[in-house]
């Protein structure tokens, strides 16, 4: 900007003319060499391996892909050696390896989901009956426009609900004990909880079978199955709730105690409300985990084909058990129903995880 001041022209710096709007500069640091190197290495490796397969007469897709990746790494390293210092070569190889791992995981997940949805779609898209009818009186060979999985959906909902009622107080109570009470005994409890999270699910089923069914002579009912699910769910809830409670700043507890609060009301009115979002997330993660639990149910629940809404009498079916029996049946239509139910279960778990992420999102406006 020029300012005329008593005939003398002064140049004022700091305020550039605003005629052209300032454009943010591209801050990417990847050069042409960076991009060209891995692409050419990839293409070159593909060519080399293809020729090798033509010459030797080898076959097999898995071996081809693996060999391609190995040759790609070698080529990439060779190309990078030219004109790059050693750390850059190392860096690129590490990045390529990690990216390869990510692609494998992504493909595995994607193929599982797409395979399930593709196989299950014929049953999943039977909006008229699949979600409103049960399997009572429906033969395994029956066409897909007859019968449905309402009984399994209802069974899963009831069992998960009961398991939640059991493990909510138990899991949160354990978490509060581990973080707020503490001491030597709390360390023992933490070790036990950690061991329980690693416990094979089938053992939870065996435990409930050995106690409730063999010792207390209960029948195989929805309630017994829910107890087995709660055994699996409680340590998961306790562990993730403990993490949520642990991030509550110690200063808040001190502030509460300094106001004359007892430890009980400090936990109830300050610590738990502060950790509310994290605790909700821990519960939802627990629910998502047990919704697909099959092994304990195989042992204790027993399966029905009809609608049973009473958890204390007669067997109750559930989505995982229904999927298990359907997919093993050998009847194409029944298998399709199984995959349809699996798609429902996948959708349910996805929704639950999305809900958990939403609840655990960082809060705006807090410091």
């Amino acid at each position: 900007m020029t300012v005329v001041n008593e005939g003398v022209e002064l140049t004022v710096t700091g305020n550039p003319p605003t005629a052209t709007p300032d454009v943010p500069r591209a801050l990417a640091t990847r050069s042409f060499d960076d991009r060209a190197s891995w692409m050419s290495a990839m293409a070159g490796a593909l060519g080399i391996v293809w020729i090798a397969y033509q010459i030797t007469g080898w076959s097999g897709r898995l071996g081809f892909t693996l060999l391609w990746f190995v040759v790609y790494l070698a080529l990439y390293a060779a190309i990078s050696r030219a004109g790059n210092p050693r750390p850059v070569v190392f860096d690129r190889l590490a990045a390529a390896t990690v990216a390869g791992g990510a692609v494998v995981v992504g493909l595995a997940l994607l193929s599982t989901v797409s395979y399930t949805v593709q196989k299950g779609w014929p049953a999943f898209s039977q909006w008229g009956n699949f979600y409103t009818e049960t399997a009572a009186g429906v033969r395994p060979t029956a066409p897909l426009d007859q019968g449905g999985i309402l009984h399994a959906i209802a069974g899963t909902a009831i069992m998960v609900g009961i398991a939640l009622l059991i493990s909510l107080p138990l899991g949160l109570g354990t978490a509060v004990y581990m973080t707020e009470v503490g001491g030597r005994a709390a360390r023992v409890v933490r070790t036990v909880v950690e061991a329980m999270t690693a416990l094979p699910d089938v053992l939870a089923g065996l435990f409930v079978y050995a106690t409730l069914i063999l010792v207390f002579h209960l029948d195989r009912t929805g309630f017994v199955a829910a107890v087995a699910l709660a055994v699996t769910m409680t340590p998961i809830v306790a562990r993730s709730a403990e993490v949520a409670l642990r991030v509550v700043p110690g200063g808040l507890r001190e502030a509460s105690l300094a106001l004359g609060a007892s430890q009980g009301s400090t936990v109830w009115r300050v610590v738990l409300p502060t950790a509310r979002a994290g605790l909700a997330t821990s519960l939802i993660l627990g629910i998502a985990r047990i919704s697909g639990e099959t092994a304990p149910l195989l042992i204790v629940s027993g399966a029905s084909t009809y609608q049973n809404l009473n958890p204390f009498a007669e067997p109750m079916n559930s989505l995982p058990l229904y999927i298990f029996s359907a997919v093993r049946s050998g009847q194409p239509n029944f298998i399709a129903r199984g995959f349809g139910a699996a798609t429902v279960l996948l959708a349910l778990v996805t929704v639950l995880f999305a809900l958990a992420r939403y609840l655990a999102r960082p809060k705006r406006g807090s410091r």
Binding site: S256, A258, L259, T274, R367
Partner: protein, 276 residues
């Protein structure tokens, strides 16, 4: 009057003028595990007086402050000896209920810590809720306004009492914490470096608040800022921990005497900024 009766009195929201209570520390020692950090500290903090505790880091002044409302013992392996007398009654006596005692001796911490799950108004009355003190709706709004006024925050937040307490600035949060500790009507207010995380403007507002509270409440403040000690306090105690030995009071007296005519050369060096 038994100790309990005497402490129950503070439950009533009596006029602040009536509660003028001093604190006396008698031969207070403190340990963390086997490490002794305070050696036989004697200090009398008279009613309606602001007492400043000054001294370099690690000399035990925060530990001493936390002993005054029994927050010290919430640290694992922390031990203490000696007596702390609130109006002549030992607060460490077995008959004293710790929650009642802490209601009478409030504390403001270094880092502002309003409860995140509560609004501004709920933060002010948190102490009543946490201690199970029942108040009527009209009393409640009187307490909110009164405490926020005494904390010097009312004019800034009166139109947004339902907003979360953490939406305030750092200085406002600290004044909210002061208002929160006033709501249970304490006789003594302990402040542990309340301004060290704040900018100069907020610091001045807090110092004004301290001056306004001083006629009603006995205030003990730990500060690293010598000018602040000189501005806000009438009485001053200089703590020091020599290398490898527990901390203790080198010199205590009126602020004027300590800053203008210290008896001990170490005090003179410290208040004149020659060390620490």
């Amino acid at each position: 009057m038994s100790t309990i009766d005497f402490l129950e009195d503070s439950l009533a929201h009596s006029a602040p003028e009536s509660s003028a209570v001093g604190v006396d520390a008698v031969a207070v020692s403190a340990w963390f595990g086997s490490n002794k950090v305070l050696e036989r500290v004697n200090l009398s903090m008279p009613p309606r007086t602001v007492t400043a505790l000054i001294g370099p880091s690690g000399c035990g002044k925060s530990t001493f402050l936390r002993i005054l409302n029994r927050m010290h013992e919430s640290v694992p392996a922390a031990k203490m000896a000696g007596e702390v007398r609130l109006n002549g009654q030992d607060i460490y006596a077995p008959s004293v209920r710790i929650t009642h005692m802490r209601k009478r001796i409030g504390m403001v911490f270094q880092k502002p810590n309003p409860f995140p799950a509560m609004s501004i108004a709920e933060n002010v009355t948190a102490g009543l809720k946490l201690t199970g003190t029942k108040v009527s709706r009209s009393e409640r709004s009187d307490i909110i306004e009164g405490c926020l006024r005494r904390g010097g925050l009312w004019n800034e937040v009166k139109d947004r009492l339902d907003e979360p307490g953490q939406a305030l600035s750092g200085g406002q949060q600290q004044r909210l914490c002061i208002a929160r500790s006033l709501a249970v009507n304490p006789d003594v207010l302990l402040m542990d470096e309340p301004c060290s995380a704040l900018d100069p403007t907020s610091t001045r507002r807090i110092e004004e608040t301290i001056a306004e509270l001083a006629p009603d409440v006995t205030i003990v403040i730990v500060t690293h800022n010598m000018q602040q000690a000189a501005r806000v306090s009438q009485q001053c105690a200089f703590f020091l921990a020599e290398q490898g030995s527990p901390g203790g009071i080198v010199e205590a007296g009126t602020t004027k005497q300590l800053f203008e005519d210290p008896h001990d050369s170490r005090t003179a060096d410290y208040v004149n900024g020659r060390f620490g």
